[in-house]
C-alpha cells in the first residue's frame, strides 16, 4: 500500500499548508485595514470625551476658579480613564505649554500593554477649554494606537480556534479523501487479487478519466474480449446452454470490491461527523436559547421549561433508533440516511426560527427523528460493509466521527453564537447537516444485504426477558443509568446554564464542553487494554462512577470556566473508564439472552434503557436547581452517581456457579 499511503500523507500535508496559508493571509490582510479604518473613529470618540472634560473645566473657570487653583481635576480625569481602556494619559496644559495636571493609565490600573515612549504608538488629541471664546487651557488625550493590535489579537485567537476545529474537520475530510482519491488504485489491487484467484470481474466501481481509470478500463475491455471470444470458441464445440462454465467467463457483478466497501464506511464516518457537528453547534447555548424563546409556559418553572426540549429530544431519538432499524433495512441505508439528514436539517433550521415553546419542541422532535434514523442507517452501513474481522474497526471509526464532532461542534458553535447570534447558528447548522447528505448521496453505494438480520430491532419480549435478569437490572440501575444521567444532565443542561450565570459567553462554554470528549479519548484506549488484561470490569465501573462524583465536586472549590472545564474533563475520563467494560459486562451478565436473541438485540435493549437516563436527567437537574442552584445541582448529581456506584459495587454479585440451572 505504499503509494496509496504516500498519496494520503502528502495530501494531508498539503491541506495543512493550504489551511495555514489561507488563515495567515486573511489575518494579515484584515489587520492591515483595521488601523486606518478604526483609528479615526477612536479619535472622534476621544474628542467627545475631551469635550465633556473641557465643558466641566470651563464651567469651573467661568465660575471664577483660577486655572491654577482648580480642585478635583485628577478625579474627573480618573473617571474618564476608568471607562476607556485605550487612553494612556490625559494632560492639561496652559497656553504657555506648562503642564498643570496629568493622569496616566498605570495609576488607574489600566496598564496592560507596556507603555513605550515611541511617539507614533500614541495618538495625541487636543481639545481646548474655551472660556468666552478664548482657549484658557489645552487638554491632551493620548490614545494607544495599539488597541487596534488588541483587536487583531482577539481576531487571531478566534481564527486559531477555527483553524484547530478546521484541522480536525480536515482530518475527517482527508480520511475520506484518502479513500476517495485512491479508490482506483485499490480497485486495481483488488482486481489483481481476484484475477489470481481465477475470477475475472467485469463491473467496475470507479469511473475516472485519468491514467488509473484508463488502466481499469483497459482491464474491463480485455475481460470483455476474452469472454466474448471464449464463448464463441465454446459454441463451436459445445452446444449453448449445456451449462459448462469456462475460466474466461466474467464473474457475477454483485461482488463488491473492498475499495467500495471502505469508501462506504469512510463516507459514513464523514457524514455522521458532519451531521453530528451540525447538531453539536448548539450545545453551548441550547438551554439559554430555550429560555429566551419559550417565555412563560403555564405554571412551569423556567428550569423545567429549559429541560423539557432536551428530554423530549432524547426520548424521540432513542425511539427513532429503535424503530428506524427495521425501516432502514427496508428502504435501504442510503435512502434512510438521506431522508434522516434532510429531516434533521429541516428540524435544525426550523428550531432556529421557532417563535414559542411548542414549536421549538416540535422541531426538536423532528431533528431527533432525523438524527436517530440517520445514526441507525450509518450503523447499518458499517455492518453491511465490514466483515467480522473489520467490524470493530468500523464501529470505532463511527464512534470516532461522533467524538470528533463533539469536540469541534461546541467550540465552533460557541464562537459563531457570539458573533452572529443563536438563531443564525441553528440555521447554519441546518445547511451543514444538508452537506452530510451530499457526501452520502455522492459517494456511498447501497450495499446492504437484505435478510441478514443484523440490525438491533427490539421487541418488548426481549425487554421483559432482560428485566427478569436481576443482575442486568442492577447493572442498569446502579451504573448505566446514573452515568448517562450525569453526562446528559450536566453537559447538555447544567454546564451552559452554570457558565452563563457566571458571566461566560458562548465561546467559553463551547471550549469547556468538548473537554468531556477529550477526556474520553485520552483514557479510553488505556482502559480497553487494561480492563481485558485484568478482567476487572465491576471495579472499573465503580471507579468510573466515583470519579464522576469527584469531577462534580470540583464545583465546590473552583468557579466559573475552570470548574466547568475540569468537571467535563473528569466526566469524560470517567465515562471512558465505564464504556467498554460496561458493554462487556452486559454481554457477560446476559449470556443466556445473548444466546437466545443475539448480542445485537441485547445491546440494543441496554442502550435504549440507558437512554432513559438521558431522558430523565434534565428533569432531575431542574428539580435540583430549585434547591441548590446550578452548582448545587451539579454536586447533587455527582453525589448520586458516586453513591450508586458504591451501591453497585456492593450489590452486584459475581455469578456463582450454583445458580445455574444446569444439572
Amino acid at each position: 500500500m505504499h503509494s496509496i499511503r504516500t498519496v494520503s500523507t502528502r495530501v494531508f500535508i498539503l491541506s495543512v499548508l493550504v489551511l495555514l496559508t489561507a488563515a495567515a493571509m486573511m489575518a494579515a490582510w484584515a489587520h492591515r485595514s483595521f488601523g486606518p479604518q478604526l483609528l479615526p473613529e477612536a479619535e472622534k470618540r476621544t474628542i467627545a470625551a475631551g469635550e465633556v472634560l473641557a465643558a466641566q473645566i470651563a464651567r469651573a473657570l467661568e465660575a471664577g476658579v483660577p486655572p491654577d487653583k482648580l480642585v478635583g481635576v485628577e478625579d474627573i480625569l480618573a473617571d474618564t480613564m476608568a471607562v476607556r481602556d485605550d487612553l494612556r494619559y490625559i494632560r492639561i496644559l496652559d497656553p504657555a505649554g506648562r503642564e498643570l495636571f496629568r493622569r496616566d493609565a498605570e495609576a488607574n490600573g489600566n496598564g496592560s500593554l507596556p507603555v513605550l515612549d515611541r511617539p507614533d504608538a500614541i495618538l495625541d488629541t487636543v481639545v481646548p477649554v474655551m472660556v468666552q471664546n478664548r482657549p484658557l487651557l489645552l487638554i491632551h488625550l493620548g490614545v494607544d494606537r495599539r488597541f487596534v493590535d488588541r483587536l487583531s489579537r482577539d481576531l487571531l485567537i478566534d481564527i486559531i480556534t477555527v483553524l484547530v476545529v478546521s484541522a480536525l474537520c480536515a482530518l475527517e475530510v482527508l480520511l475520506f479523501i484518502g479513500n476517495a482519491t485512491t479508490a482506483e488504485l485499490r480497485e486495481l489491487r483488488w482486481l489483481a487479487d481476484e484475477a489470481e484467484r481465477g475470477r475475472l470481474v467485469t463491473r467496475l466501481y470507479s469511473r475516472a478519466r485519468d491514467e488509473y481509470g484508463r488502466i481499469l478500463a483497459w482491464y474491463s475491455a480485455v475481460v470483455q474480449v476474452l469472454a466474448e471470444g471464449g464463448r464463441k470458441m465454446k459454441e463451436a464445440i459445445i452446444p449453448p446452454g449445456s451449462g459448462q462454465s469456462s475460466a474466461t467467463d466474467p464473474v457475477d457483478h454483485d461482488v463488491v470490491p473492498d475499495a467500495t466497501r471502505s469508501l462506504n464506511v469512510v463516507a459514513a464516518r464523514l457524514s455522521i461527523f458532519i451531521f453530528a457537528l451540525a447538531e453539536e453547534l448548539s450545545r453551548p447555548f441550547f438551554p439559554l436559547y430555550v429560555q429566551e424563546v419559550a417565555g412563560r409556559v403555564g405554571d412551569l418553572s423556567p428550569h423545567l421549561i429549559a429541560a423539557l426540549p432536551i428530554s423530549t429530544f432524547m426520548m424521540v431519538w432513542a425511539l427513532a433508533q429503535m424503530f428506524g432499524a427495521a425501516w432502514s433495512e427496508h428502504v435501504g441505508r442510503r435512502k434512510a440516511f438521506i431522508i434522516g439528514a434532510v429531516a434533521g436539517a429541516g428540524g435544525l433550521a426550523m428550531t432556529g426560527m421557532s417563535v414559542g415553546f411548542y414549536d421549538l419542541v416540535l422541531w426538536r422532535c423532528v431533528t431527533a427523528v432525523g438524527y436517530g434514523v440517520l445514526m441507525i442507517a450509518v450503523q447499518g452501513i458499517v455492518v453491511d460493509n465490514t466483515d467480522e474481522a473489520s467490524r470493530a474497526r468500523g464501529f470505532s471509526m463511527f464512534v470516532g466521527g461522533t467524538l470528533a464532532a463533539g469536540i469541534c461542534g461546541p467550540a465552533f458553535g460557541g464562537v459563531l453564537a457570539d458573533q452572529i447570534g443563536y438563531r443564525p447558528t441553528f440555521v447554519l447548522g441546518g445547511f451543514v447537516a444538508l452537506a452530510s447528505c451530499a457526501v452520502i448521496y455522492a459517494c456511498a453505494v447501497e450495499t446492504r444485504r437484505p435478510n441478514v438480520g443484523n440490525s438491533a430491532s427490539i421487541n418488548w419480549h426481549y425487554i421483559a426477558t432482560l428485566f427478569r435478569n436481576r443482575r442486568f437490572v442492577t447493572l442498569v440501575a446502579a451504573s448505566a443509568l446514573p452515568t448517562k444521567l450525569a453526562a446528559t444532565g450536566i453537559l447538555f443542561y447544567l454546564v451552559p446554564l452554570f457558565l452563563n450565570s457566571a458571566g461566560a459567553d458562548s465561546a467559553d462554554i463551547g471550549r469547556a464542553l468538548p473537554l468531556y470528549f477529550v477526556g474520553f479519548m485520552c483514557v479510553s484506549p488505556l482502559v480497553a487494554q487494561i480492563s481485558d488484561r485484568l478482567a476487572m470490569r465491576k471495579e472499573f465501573l465503580t471507579a468510573g462512577g466515583v470519579l464522576s462524583g469527584i469531577a462534580c465536586l470540583v464545583v465546590l472549590w473552583l468557579d466559573g470556566f475552570w470548574a466547568a472545564a475540569l468537571c467535563s474533563l473528569g466526566l469524560g475520563a470517567a465515562q471512558a473508564l465505564i464504556s467498554a467494560p460496561q458493554l462487556a459486562l452486559v454481554l457477560d451478565t446476559c449470556d443466556e439472552e445473548v444466546k437466545s436473541f443475539g448480542a445485537a438485540a441485547v445491546l440494543g435493549v441496554f442502550r435504549f434503557v440507558e437512554r432513559m437516563g438521558s431522558f430523565l436527567s434534565p428533569f432531575l437537574a431542574a428539580a435540583l436547581i430549585t434547591y441548590g442552584g446550578y452548582d448545587g445541582a451539579i454536586i447533587g448529581i455527582g453525589i448520586l452517581v458516586a453513591v450508586c456506584a458504591l451501591l453497585f459495587y456492593v450489590g452486584f454479585r459475581k455469578r456463582t456457579t450454583d445458580s445455574s440451572s444446569r444439572p
Binding site: V7, L14, V18, A49, E51, I159, S166, L226, E235
Partner: protein
C-alpha cells in the same frame, strides 16, 4: 467523486479547503470589525447625547416643568445645526408627546415606538436604524418620576459606508487568498501526484501494446480474441519493469490472464479430443 482524475480531485479538495478557511476568516474579521466600529461610534454618540441631556437636566433643576422651558426649543435647534451627524433632536414628555424639536413640524406629535415601560428596564436606549442611530435618555424629577425624555437621531451613513468598504475589502482579500492557495495547491498536487501519474501512464502504454481497446482493425470477436491471446503468450514482460505498485498490479493481472488463457486452451484442447469433430453447429 467518481469522475475526473486523482489529481483533479485532490486539487479541488484543496481549493475547497482554502475557500472554507478564507471565507470563515473573512467572516470573522468582518464581524469583529463591525462590532468594534459600532462600539466606537455608539460610545461617541452616547457621550454627546449625555452631554446634552445633562445640560437640560440642569435647567430642570430650577423647578420649572418641562413643557414650560421654552428656551429648550432654541437649544435643540442649535444642537441639531451644530454638527452634521446630528439629524434630529426631540424632547418629549412622559407620554411620548413631542414638546420641542429641531423639526418644528413634529411638535405635538407622538414619538414613534416610544414605550414608557421599557424605559424603566433600560434607561439609555440605542435604536439602530438603516443609516441612523437614535439614542434616548429619560428625564426624571426630584422624586425619580419619569417626566419625559430626550431623543437624538444621528446619521451614520459614513459608518455604513465603512462597513461596506470593509466587506468589499475582505472579499478581495479572500479572492486573492483563494487564488494564491489555488496556485499553491496546483503546484503541490503536481508534485505529489505527478510522478505517480507518470508511472501510471507508462504502465498503461505497456498495457496498450498487449491490447489496444481503441484499435478497430480487428472486426470479429474471434479475431480480437486470437490477437489478444497471442500477444499475451508472447507479450512483453512487465514484471521486470515494475517499479511502482500500479505496474506491479498490472503485471499480476497480465500474468493471471495468461495463465487463465493457457488453462482454457488446454481445456479446449482436451475437450476437442473428447468430442468427435463431426459434431458441428448446424
Amino acid at each position: 467523486m467518481r469522475s475526473g482524475g486523482v489529481s483533479g480531485r485532490i486539487w479541488l479538495i484543496l481549493v475547497l479547503i482554502a475557500v472554507m478557511m478564507a471565507g470563515t476568516a473573512g467572516a470573522l474579521s468582518y464581524f469583529k470589525f463591525e462590532m468594534k466600529l459600532r462600539e466606537l461610534v455608539t460610545s461617541q454618540l452616547t457621550t454627546k447625547t449625555a452631554e446634552l441631556h445633562s445640560k437640560i437636566q440642569r435647567v430642570l433643576m430650577l423647578g420649572l416643568l418641562l413643557p414650560e422651558l421654552n428656551e429648550l426649543q432654541l437649544l435643540v435647534e442649535r444642537e441639531a445645526g451644530r454638527e452634521e451627524r446630528t439629524d434630529l433632536v426631540d424632547i418629549h414628555d412622559e407620554t411620548g408627546r413631542i414638546l420641542f424639536s429641531s423639526d418644528r413640524d413634529r411638535i405635538g406629535q407622538a414619538l414613534a415606538d416610544y414605550d414608557a415601560a421599557a424605559v424603566h428596564a433600560a434607561p439609555i436606549q440605542v435604536v439602530t436604524g438603516d443609516a441612523t442611530i437614535t439614542i434616548r435618555m429619560p428625564f426624571r424629577n426630584d422624586f425619580d418620576q419619569l417626566i419625559g425624555g430626550l431623543s437624538v437621531r444621528y446619521s451614520i451613513s459614513d459608518t455604513r459606508q465603512k462597513q461596506q468598504w470593509m466587506a468589499g475589502y475582505l472579499v478581495t482579500g479572500a479572492v486573492i487568498t483563494i487564488g494564491v492557495c489555488g496556485l499553491l495547491s496546483l503546484l503541490g498536487t503536481r508534485l505529489v501526484v505527478g510522478r505517480l501519474e507518470k508511472q501510471a501512464r507508462q504502465t498503461r502504454l505497456s498495457l496498450k501494446q498487449i491490447y489496444d481497446p481503441t484499435d478497430a482493425s480487428a472486426t470479429s470477436p474471434e479475431e480480437r480474441y486470437r490477437t489478444l491471446v497471442s500477444r499475451l503468450e508472447r507479450g512483453p514482460d512487465l514484471i521486470a519493469d515494475a517499479r511502482d505498485e500500479v505496474a506491479r498490479d498490472a503485471a499480476r493481472i497480465v500474468a493471471a490472464l495468461r495463465r487463465t488463457v493457457a488453462a482454457e486452451t488446454a481445456t479446449q484442447a482436451t475437450k476437442n479430443e473428447r468430442f468427435p469433430a463431426d459434431v458441428s453447429v448446424g
